[in-house]
């Protein structure tokens, strides 16, 4: 084997980061934001949505948590065009781009995991908080929105951010649809130039650096915002 070729890494840096990493990061942040919002809704449905809606939410969470992400990616890739056709009344399946399809997939998949985190967070709030809210004459929605959920997000922020780091790692799985995220870009360069070792090692190093730095940041943040009861 010829020596380690730094040139191929250097030459492909713009493609790797401006195309690949940008896709990965955009997908991560949008899916995390959407997932947290949707996950909070699902958690609230499970807690106070009544029997039917609660069962639907529970079923959704259990389904998403028992399936591999790769399978869910394939599901949504084939399913979304047909849902678009049904929703818009079109005559043929609606063409959705790769980004839209993967955004929908990751948002809906991670919403199940985020909902479990939020539900655990709500369960960790002392019951007296709800009672105090009701005693002050607030409705359930006002207590949840102004008293409980702000505390939940503060205590659960480290866990939510850790799950976001996991989501960032999971975005590499769009590889199965040949979508160009960071790993896909590295892989394309590797196969075009025949430099598998250099590109895959570089991709691993970058992922490690980003995730390690992020998890250290989360740990530091958690120490600073922790609520000491």
């Amino acid at each position: 084997m010829t020596g380690f070729d730094w040139g191929v890494i250097w030459r492909s840096l713009p493609y790797l980061f401006l195309d690949g990493m940008r896709f990965s990061l955009t997908l991560t942040f949008l899916a995390a934001a959407g997932g947290v919002v949707l996950g909070t809704g699902i958690a609230l449905l499970r807690l106070a949505g009544g029997r039917v809606l609660g069962a639907v939410a529970t079923g959704y969470v259990n389904l998403m948590r028992s399936l591999p992400l790769v399978l869910v990616i394939f599901w949504f890739y084939f399913l979304v065009p047909y849902i678009g056709q049904w929703a818009t009344g079109a005559s043929r399946p609606v063409q959705v781009g790769a980004f839209a399809s993967s955004l929908l997939t990751f948002t809906l998949f991670e919403a199940a995991y985020f909902s479990e985190i939020v539900r655990a967070g709500i369960g960790s709030i002392p019951r007296g908080q709800m009672a105090a809210g009701f005693a002050l004459g607030l409705t359930y929605r006002q207590v949840m929105g102004s008293v409980i959920l702000p505390q939940v997000f503060r205590t659960m922020l480290p866990v939510l951010l850790t799950q976001t780091i996991v989501l960032f790692q999971d975005t590499s799985l769009v590889y199965v649809l040949s979508i160009t995220d960071f790993m896909g870009a590295a892989s394309k360069v590797a196969q075009r130039d025949g430099r598998l070792v250099e590109m895959y090692v570089f991709a691993a190093v970058i992922y490690f650096a980003v995730c390690y730095a992020a998890s250290q940041g989360v740990r530091r943040l958690g120490g600073r915002i922790a609520i000491i009861r």
Binding site: M1, L63, S66, L67, P68, L69, V70, L71, F74, W75, F78, L79, Y82, S91, R92, P93, Q169, D170, S172, L173, Y175, V176, M183, S187, L196, V197, Y200, V201, A203, A204, Y207, F208, C211, Y212, S215
Partner: protein, 242 residues
Amino acid sequence: MTYNWNWRIFWEPSPEGIGTYWDMLLGGLVTTLEVSALAWIVALAMGCIMGVLRTVPSRLAQAVGAAWVELFRNIPLLVQLFLWYFVLPEVVPVALGDWMKSLQSAPFVISAVGIGCFMSARVAEQVRAGLGALPRGQRMAGTALGLTLPQTYRYVLLPMAFRIVLPPLTSEMISTVKNTSVALTIGLVELTARARAMQEFSFQVFEAFTAATVAYMVVNLAATLLMRWLERRVRVPGYVAA
């Protein structure tokens, strides 16, 4: 252009020539379970060692354990599998690399090792949490009785720690089964890969993926029930978690 449902597709012979589509999917499920079992054994073995190392009163041991966990936690599983499968044969001595590349069941073995190491980091964290949940007095009691450190771990600490972390370890085991699907990228023909192949051969997309979905849910359910039985068997009376 509507989708043509055909649930009888499972009884039709598959182009691969080994039987019906149902047989094809079943073969994939068997592969999934085999790789998961192997990977879980690797994960348990390495995870326990690394988790114990992180709690031992030795700076070097703790650094080794921490390095292992951080390395395998911060790199995505897909990238790790690519490193094992494509990069490792190139960086080891040529003879060993050639032998690796010529292995008939290379995807199988590499998936088991790769997924096992990935999950071992998470098992190590669980074991560390379990050992940390034990009162400090347990270790001191072991020393007071004249047990060496390994004996204290073997007879006093680890039995309780495992009983405490059995529920999280259950979900890690289910995660291992789900993570085998990532190995389709290095050529392991497991359940998701078979479902995808069925979809490509027969164009019956939703039938194929529904079958795979149901299979994963059944495996999930079976694993959960098995673990619940195990938890009941090893319960320690008086402990809330048990």
